[in-house]
Symmetry: C2
Subunit: 345 residues, 2 copies
């Protein structure tokens, strides 16, 4: 009747020898069929496959892992998954892993404590994962990764940062440069920057790109603030900046470290009676799904987070295959929308 269980009792320990008995072969032949070994007679293979289906047999992963030494699982250590970028990266990772026949075990750590990450990696090692991917933007965390040296491949998927060891990176500097050039080309004298937390490599790299692009263009250095990625920090800075603009300071271009902060920034600016981009141009970073619907639609830098995840898995597979693998990079893309314009003369 049911498609699941042609045989008898469904939910009882069903092992390889049961299938073997039914197909009239040895358990080893069943193993060969299950694992797709070449040297099995087509007829036998068919018979075994039928027995497997009829019985609804599923190989025991633990037993297999024990004898092969591989659990076909990748451990992911991540954080801030309630933010768009990290979540999207995780999706990319999970899908690539699944396609490659691996399952994904996830540890979501809070804060970026080095110890916390080490602990999570350690748990994964205990779980016999085949590899660990650490997704972080934290400077210290990445630095500490080198010292970890777990018995399995460890690859870092990060938002900017040094390229020590196997690493996939979004080239943050390039994104920041894109922003500065765009704003300068519009006629702004300089660009000020509301960065993310100081210990975030991601922020730091963007700061570097921003500063360098400004210097290259011969523009005077802009002012730098630090936020915490959330809209509230953008709001605070925006309120302060608005006051200064109304007091006559020539601040016309603001580059926020992510879209959320840009949002807070713009709201504060509006509340203080300033218009975007009329009085001041604002640029974000990330291209979250809501960005085109901010008021005004936000000019921002798109990062392909999912691609980052996919490349992470590629790197893992390469390491697992014993290949040497070079650090990999993903390029960001500037999306010009309506929050930027030339400065009011």
């Amino acid at each position: 009747m049911s498609t699941e269980t042609h045989g008898s009792a469904p939910a009882r320990p069903l092992v390889m020898s049961d299938v073997a008995a039914r197909a009239g072969v040895s358990h080893q032949t069943v193993s060969r069929v299950v694992n797709g070994h070449p040297n099995v007679a087509p007829l036998t293979r068919a018979r075994v496959q039928r027995a497997i289906e009829e019985l609804g047999y599923r190989p025991n992963a633990a037993a297999r892992a024990l004898v092969t030494g591989s659990s076909r699982t990748i451990g992911l250590v991540t954080m801030n998954v309630n933010q768009y970028g990290p979540a999207q990266t995780m999706i990319g990772l999970e899908q690539a892993a699944r396609v490659a026949g691996y399952s994904l075990s996830v540890a979501i750590v809070e804060g970026a404590g080095v110890g916390t990450i080490a602990e999570a990696v350690d748990r994964f090692v205990g779980q016999s994962v085949d590899a660990v991917v650490v997704h972080t933007a934290d400077l210290e965390a990445v630095a500490a990764l080198g010292a970890l040296d777990p018995p399995v491949p460890l690859v870092a998927v990060q938002m900017g940062g040094e390229e020590l060891g196997p690493t996939v990176t979004v080239v943050q500097e390039a994104g920041a440069r894109l922003v500065v050039r765009h704003l300068l080309a519009l006629g702004h004298t300089t660009v000020h920057h509301l960065s993310g937390p100081e210990h975030s490599m991601e922020s730091r790299r963007r700061v570097e790109g921003w500063r360098d692009a400004l210097a290259e263009a011969g523009a005077p250095p802009g002012e730098l603030w630090h936020g915490d990625w959330w809209p509230s920090s953008g709001y605070e800075v925006g309120t302060a900046v608005a006051a200064r603009i109304r007091a006559g300071e020539p601040i016309t271009a603001l580059f926020a470290g992510n879209d959320q902060m840009a949002l807070g920034l713009m709201v504060a600016l509006h509340e203080q009676g300033l218009t975007v981009p009329g009085d001041v141009s604002v640029v974000g970073f990330d291209d979250v799904p809501g960005a085109p619907y901010f008021s005004p639609p936000l000019t921002t830098v798109r990062q392909d987070f999912a691609e980052l995840g996919r490349r992470g898995v590629q790197l893992v597979l390469a390491r697992l295959a014993g290949e040497d693998c070079e650090p990999d990079q993903v390029q960001p893309l500037l999306l010009v929308r309506r929050s930027t314009a030339g400065p009011r003369r």
Copy 2:
């Protein structure tokens, strides 16, 4: 030198007998210490523990899983984790699982295809997870869950929906009721609703709550549209609605199925020259981190997603302990901000 490896070679297969040899006991005694069995002499225990630390021994999870039949892993089938709610729920789940000594294996399915979910559950069963948690808002998906009958406990964590089997639910109707009452109390004649996708139970329940609350209050039924959760669908509806308002239709209160759609809605309204809440009040659902910084700050319903996840794990643990467990519910909370006001007379 290193804190990790006092002994010799670090990254080689280190097994229980190695520890046993070093401590001068049998491997079984080591097993007893590792698993915290009571009947071990304190002195022996200490000796074994020291040996474990010196060697940096970690028990092999696969071997343990093979013999105990439990992998101490929970499988999570989820979707849309790039949205705030599902991501937050996952965080709650992961942390509760970790605290309980379980690790979390994640499958992120696309769309809500019943087959896709069944497949994911199946993969988890093959991985010998101890239990599966399915987090979905899809109607068909949940309906199909009952037919799945995997050999391990399966609990649903959902956003509204029937309470068949072990389930944790956010009471969506209650949230919608809160919204309608608030708007009606402000003096609006009726409330219109931009719901999520039709097959989403979450949406459906909110629709029910909205409709019931309206009926209870004797208000005329409002109009109903369906969006896809993203700002763009709110924007489209907003544009159409704005035109009708300007044509004289008395639409004054809009309830969006989530904050993102509310955002799109408000942007469209503004673009068409209408003010929120001056011309029309808008309410969202979820309380995403950016909501207080929308323009205007959004009145919305907070759902405690993380709590949902935590309860999900509780339910799993109860099932695993063989306890009977009743469906559990989490109550939502209305946050009144600045996107709602009385109608313009």
